[in-house]
């Protein structure tokens, strides 16, 4: 199996387009995932009985093969990017809901009490104390969800929305490993860069977690 380096210079445009598609699908999914997961997690954290239900449901979702989920969405959303985004969003919920609930668990009761004692209403306490203190754990979830989404997008190639995953199908059909290697490498690179960016964002957003002098 040899890599045909000569293929690359002629296809930079195509690769750029696929990478951009790939990234936008993955990031959309994480964005919508957060939009749904945050309120869901806050509610599940407040009302204990809901907690087991929400976490259990998201765990079962995890066991459904992603390819099947995309296909099952076809009658609703068709062969569109929406199908890919909706499907991947569903998977991000598994991680995002769990981490947000666990993140809120890590908030010291004393910090919450102090905020209440100073006269803050619950919603204000949530936004000024609880969510910021839960941020490290929530961000860990966002990192996992992002990397997972980037990997999952390629599965959506089965419905023609796979971004770099398209290279796997083309490579398979044309028996041309160079395409597949390029696809795998670019997916890994994309995940690595996205993760590094998120680590930096988290570091900047949570100055209180820095070691002294760091």
């Amino acid at each position: 199996m040899t890599i045909e380096w000569g293929w690359f210079p002629d296809h930079i445009d195509e690769m750029t387009r696929l990478t951009a598609d790939h990234l936008s699908t993955a990031l959309s999914a994480v964005f919508f995932g957060l939009l749904i997961a945050l309120p869901l997690a806050v509610i599940a954290h407040r009302f204990r009985p809901l907690r087991g239900f929400v976490l259990g449901l998201s765990n079962i979702l995890y066991t459904i093969p992603s390819i099947a989920l995309f296909v099952l969405l076809l009658p609703v959303t068709g062969l569109t990017r929406t199908t890919a985004v909706v499907g991947i969003t569903a998977y991000t919920l598994v991680v995002l809901v769990r981490n947000t609930v666990e993140g809120l668990d890590t908030v010291p009761a004393k910090a919450r009490e102090a905020s209440t004692a100073m006269g803050a209403k619950p919603l204000r306490t949530l936004f000024t104390v609880e969510l910021p203190l839960a941020l490290p754990v929530i961000m860990a979830g966002v990192r996992v969800a992002t990397v997972m989404s980037i990997s999952l997008v390629s599965v959506a190639s089965a419905i023609g929305q796979g971004g770099l995953g398209q290279l796997f199908i083309d490579g398979f059909q044309r028996d041309f490993p160079t395409l597949v290697i390029a696809g795998v490498a670019l997916t890994l690179l994309l995940a690595l860069v996205a993760d590094a960016v998120l680590v930096t964002v988290q570091w900047l957003a949570t100055p209180w977690t820095h070691k002294r002098g760091a």
């Binding site: 199996m1 079962i60 995890y62 066991t63 459904i64 093969p65 992603s66 390819i67 099947a68 989920l69 296909v71 099952l72 076809l74 009658p75 990192r143 996992v144 990397v147 997972m148 980037i150 990997s151 390629s154 599965v155 190639s157 089965a158 770099l164 995953g165 290279l167 796997f168 490579g171 398979f172 028996d175 041309f176 490993p177 597949v180 290697i181 696809g183 795998v184 997916t187 890994l188 995940a191 690595l192 993760d195």
Partner: protein
């Protein structure tokens, strides 16, 4: 929607659907075979590595980031690649499933051992346990809950992903998903997906039982 569920019910309950080489029973066994073998091989590779990293503390950075790498690795791509390189065999299936499971188990095993209170390890050494005794009598028992979490997570992922076998023309429950996709037969896809989900949940519950058995008698603080 209701129509779909009704069709699914009749698909799942019709007798002939369950028998024969293309029957559900046979597909289930195939699926289990791929998943079990892959998870066992992955555990055999990952547990010693995770234990070594956890015990010595060397390579912690690798252990922590390996899970992230494992998640990023596109399984479809890996399967295609190994298939193109090696031709028609089950190697592509096993290699990609093992590659999926190994990082999760290593990371959790390491995390479990790293989470053991250093004071307890210090006391264990201080009363005269040798390195291997600290590992077997203190670190591993205390890391067991997280190690089991890793194995359960890996098992669920492998079972859900073993559908990929059908992509490279082998059997398992993925057959229904890929055939259903090709034939635009949603009932078949839904049936396959449901069976995979049930199998994954059942495996997780079974491993949960094993975990409880291993930890029986322990106080909640050491679970």
């Amino acid at each position: 929607m209701l129509e779909l569920l009704k069709n699914l019910a009749s698909w799942l309950t019709s007798g002939p659907q369950w028998s024969g080489n293309a029957g559900i029973a046979h597909r289930l066994v195939e699926h289990l075979e791929y998943s079990l073998l892959a998870t066992l091989v992955a555990a055999a590779i990952a547990l010693p590595i995770g234990m070594l990293i956890g015990h010595t503390g060397r390579g912690a950075f690798v252990a922590v980031n390996l899970a992230s790498f494992g998640r990023a690795l596109p399984t479809v791509g890996l399967v295609t690649l190994v298939f193109l390189a090696g031709g028609l065999s089950k190697w592509p299936v096993y290699i990609s499933l093992v590659a999926l499971a190994v990082p999760v188990i290593i990371t959790n095993t390491y995390a479990g051992m790293a989470a053991v209170d250093p004071d307890i390890k210090d006391a264990a050494k201080g009363v005269g346990l040798r390195g291997h005794q600290v590992l077997w009598q203190v670190e591993l028992p205390l890391a067991l809950p997280l190690i089991m979490t890793g194995i359960r997570l890996a098992t669920v992922q492998v079972i859900a992903t073993a559908t990929i076998a059908a992509y490279v023309s082998f059997g398992g429950l993925g057959r229904y998903v890929y055939d259903g996709l090709a034939q635009r037969d949603l009932v078949q896809v839904l049936g396959g997906a449901a069976l995979v989900a049930v199998l994954a949940v059942a495996a997780d519950l079974a491993l949960g039982g094993v975990q409880r058995l291993l930890l029986r008698g322990r106080p909640a603080s050491a679970r």
